[in-house]
């Protein structure tokens, strides 16, 4: 089974990457870009277990390693 973890800078936390991307897009002539935020997605291949257990496990992984909860928010999505 698969888990997809989205990790994004917390709102209010500076996101220099996103800023640079927005700036570059504007320079390239994409005037309609008002802002950008950049985050990570981590796709995990997991041994098959039940979905609730998997979610619990992956949440633990986020807290312990994948996300830096001081400055990042995360969300977990489990796919069969």
């Amino acid at each position: 089974m698969k888990a997809i973890v989205h990790i994004n800078p917390r709102s209010g936390v500076l996101d220099p990457q996103g800023q640079a991307v927005a700036g570059a897009l504007k320079h390239l002539g994409f005037a309609g870009v008002l802002g950008a935020r950049q985050g990570k997605v981590i796709e995990l291949d997991l041994a098959d277990i039940d979905a609730e257990q998997a979610r619990e496990q992956v949440t633990k992984m986020c807290e312990q390693l994948l996300a830096n909860t001081v400055i990042e928010d995360y969300s977990v999505q489990i796919e069969p």
Partner: protein
């Protein structure tokens, strides 16, 4: 005038102000402050900004000297290095933020110290970092090490300033409070140094750099408080660094500095817009009017107090000459930086803030500085510790002990750290970490001169005896600079201690400064800048007292830069200085005997100076092939460093008078190990005698083993042991 609601003492107390401080505010204002005004008083009077516990003691440090252009009080210290150039440098702590978020905390520490240096007109040319972590087996240590190191590298590498040196210690005393001290050294034209006094009314105030967010609000107050269980909840105050913006800010500011537009300039560091604007106005003897609606904002609905206290990074405040606005704006726009005129200086002596059509602050500026609290905190000198007699320490195999010491946390190679730092960008690095020299050596671009830079402190000694330990930190730094062939010029410091409201901690602080002051005075090594970081404690347990000293020296001929990596087979090993086998508070005692007791080695300043000048003369005359000072681990560890770096074995005889532990591992101060070619040896020994310097021919460079008395150790084994400790500890971190 429509002022926001008045505050009360409860609110003041929540911001760290005490009853008497609150009374002073009421008295100076003739009324109760509103929220914005209270916020401004609270950060200006925080320990971090006001130095209220430390000020009277810092005054004991010598701050003047032939080379000093500007001592403490500005953003950084300035010394004259000849040829129309000045060197500008400072060290600063970012301890609390680095514990909470190691990568960003350390990165923003580097960013902050660079701004202190380029704000005075200098191009940053070198960075150093002094790090203290908890016990290697503490569960948090690995994450902290990997985050802090990545953060320091991530910022400095990106900006393109080489990180050339530093020091790293591990001790359980730092488990709950790591220390991250960063030092930046820059070079400026002597006739183009910029200060923070905003003289003259009616001048425009320009804001440049990153937009203001809610980052690090109350960071200065946080740096002035102990950690507790609630600290985790303070997390949203973490700032994120943007080295890309910093790099553009450096280039844009240095460009603007070549025009004659600037009256005063100041980075927005701790307490952000508040401290930068108050300090510029205060020093310039003017008032300041700001319209907060014009402050570039990253978030919506920011309140005046949030804007005034925000510690968003990569921002500068500039007071311009009238009519120069468009020149400045053009430069910053070209570098794609936010720039905004946010106010002007006035002749009222008041700080007046406007926000959405209201006056949200109207206070006299004088009291913010003049009436800042200045405490004479009770202190108590620590009891002296007992001397340890080397004869009472068990006898052990010196080669085996050396192997253990060179694999111990404080002694083992820090390659894992410094290989993550760009040490060579700017192409003027002559010696950096791993470069087999006691100090970093950085050429002054386009000249034959070089700066030697070192950061030092031995917390073991300061814990055992703050006075001797304070002296020793200065002296070791002096010695490290000398050992590269540079003349020591001046120092900056970063004084990391626990809670000053505790008399025993205050005692450590006071005595360490006394020791530093004495050493700096005798060695003519003035303190030109520095930083105090107090309240480094968690749940009542304070860090070992750690006054880090960052020194700068100057050499005229960079081709003479000396190190300890070029000893040749056949060279004689000469030990300078007196050896009494001092084992108290030594690394040997801690690592081999698991004891952390005893008085630390005393420092004889007159002797230190005499020996140092002798070494300097010898290096200038080209008499030595290698020079290394003796510090942690004494003679054997210094010899091991020299052998590893020179890729040669060596042989040192046992002492006729001292037991092996004391002779090979004692940490008597004021000593250097020299490698001297056979034909120079007689001259060196004669000259030493003439100069009143103890010099003994104690061994020879030879073979592929290190031989101590009648025990030996292969160089390859030693190298593996020395190199493997940190990578093994950090494996998969």
């Amino acid at each position: 005038m429509s002022m926001a609601k008045a505050t009360d003492f409860e609110q003041a107390r929540a911001l760290g102000l005490n009853e008497s401080e609150w009374q002073v505010i009421l008295d100076r204002l003739g009324r109760r402050p509103n929220e914005t005004e209270l916020g401004i008083f609270s950060v200006m009077w925080s320990e971090h900004c006001s130095y209220k516990s430390s000020r009277r003691h810092l005054r004991k440090l010598p701050t003047t000297g032939e080379c000093v252009i500007c001592g403490p009080g500005e953003n950084a210290g300035v010394i004259d290095i000849g040829g129309g150039l000045a060197c500008i440098f400072k060290m600063e702590s970012h301890n609390h933020p680095s514990y909470i978020e190691p990568y960003q905390g350390a990165a923003t520490g580097v960013g902050g110290i660079m701004r202190d240096v380029f704000t005075m007109g200098a191009r940053p040319v070198a960075l150093l970092n002094a790090l203290r972590f908890g016990s290697p087996d503490h569960p948090k240590t690995r994450t902290l090490v990997s985050g802090v190191v990545a953060g320091i590298g991530g910022y400095g590498n990106c900006v393109g300033v080489p990180t050339v040196g530093g020091e790293t210690n591990f001790h359980a005393g730092y488990n709950g409070n790591i220390l991250v001290n960063a030092m930046c050294v820059g070079i400026a034209k002597k006739d183009s140094i910029f200060y923070s006094a905003a003289k003259g009314a009616g001048n425009p105030v320009l804001y440049v750099g990153a937009k203001t967010g809610r980052d690090g609000i109350h960071g200065a107050t946080m740096a002035s408080a102990e950690f507790d269980d609630q600290t985790e909840a303070k997390r949203p105050t973490v700032q994120v660094g943007d080295p890309f913006t910093e790099k553009r800010l450096i280039e844009a500011c240095l460009e603007l500095m070549q025009t004659s537009c600037i009256v005063a300039i100041q980075d927005m560091g701790a307490a952000g817009l508040t401290s930068s604007s108050v300090e510029m106005a205060d020093k310039g003897g003017v008032g300041i009017d700001l319209n907060l609606d014009h402050v570039p904002q990253r978030e919506t609905h920011m309140t005046p107090v949030e804007m005034m206290l925000s510690e968003s990074q990569e921002r500068m405040l500039i007071v311009l000459r009238q009519g120069k606005e468009s020149i400045a704006e053009e430069i910053f726009k070209r570098w794609e930086l936010d720039v905004a005129l946010i106010g002007k200086t006035t002749d009222t002596g008041r700080m007046v803030l406007h926000h959405k059509g209201h006056t949200v602050c109207d206070i006299p500026i004088g009291p913010l500085g003049d009436d800042a609290p200045n405490y004479d905190r009770p202190w108590q000198a620590p009891a002296p510790l007992k001397k340890i007699d080397a004869q009472d320490v068990p006898n052990r195999d010196p080669a085996q002990a050396l192997l253990i010491l060179m694999h111990s946390p404080d002694m083992a190679s820090k390659r894992w750290i410094w290989e993550q730092y760009d040490r060579h960008v700017m192409a003027d690095t002559i010696k950096a970490s791993g470069g087999a020299a006691d100090a970093a050596v950085v050429r002054v671009h386009g000249t034959d001169k070089a700066l030697a830079i070192s950061s030092d402190c031995t917390p073991r000694y300061v814990t055992a005896d703050p006075f001797e330990g304070g002296k020793q930190a200065v002296v070791e730094c002096w010695r490290n600079i000398i050992a590269t062939g540079a003349k020591p010029m001046a120092v900056t410091d970063c004084l990391n201690f626990g809670n000053p409201e505790r008399p025993d901690i205050m005692g450590q602080f006071v005595r360490a400064i006394d020791g530093m002051a004495e050493a700096c005075t005798v060695l003519n090594f003035p303190v030109v800048s520095g930083n105090v970081s107090l309240y480094n404690e968690t749940a009542g347990s304070a860090i070992p007292p750690t006054p880090a000293i960052g020194g700068v020296g100057l050499m005229d001929d960079v081709t003479r830069a000396m190190g300890f990596g070029a000893a040749k087979a056949g060279d004689a090993l000469v030990l300078l200085g007196q050896s009494a086998g001092w084992l108290g508070a030594s690394l040997y005692l801690r690592e081999i005997e698991c004891r952390e007791d005893g008085a630390p080695p005393p420092v004889n300043l007159a002797q230190e100076r005499r020996i140092g000048l002798f070494v300097l003369d010898g290096i200038t005359a080209g008499q030595f092939t290698a020079v290394h000072d003796l510090s942690d681990g004494g003679l054997a560890c210094a010899a091991a460093d020299l052998a590893l770096a020179s890729r040669c074995g060596l042989n040192i005889l046992a002492s006729k008078t001292l037991p092996n532990a004391g002779w090979f591992f004692g940490e008597d101060q004021g000593r250097y190990l020299l490698a001297v070619s056979a034909n120079q040896l007689p001259g060196v020994l004669t000259q030493a005698q003439a100069a009143g310097v103890d010099a003994a021919h104690i061994g020879t460079i030879q073979g592929t083993d290190i031989t101590l008395g009648n025990t030996s150790l292969g160089l390859d084994l030693l190298r593996r042991s020395y190199e493997s400790w940190l990578p093994d500890m950090m494996e998969d971190a």
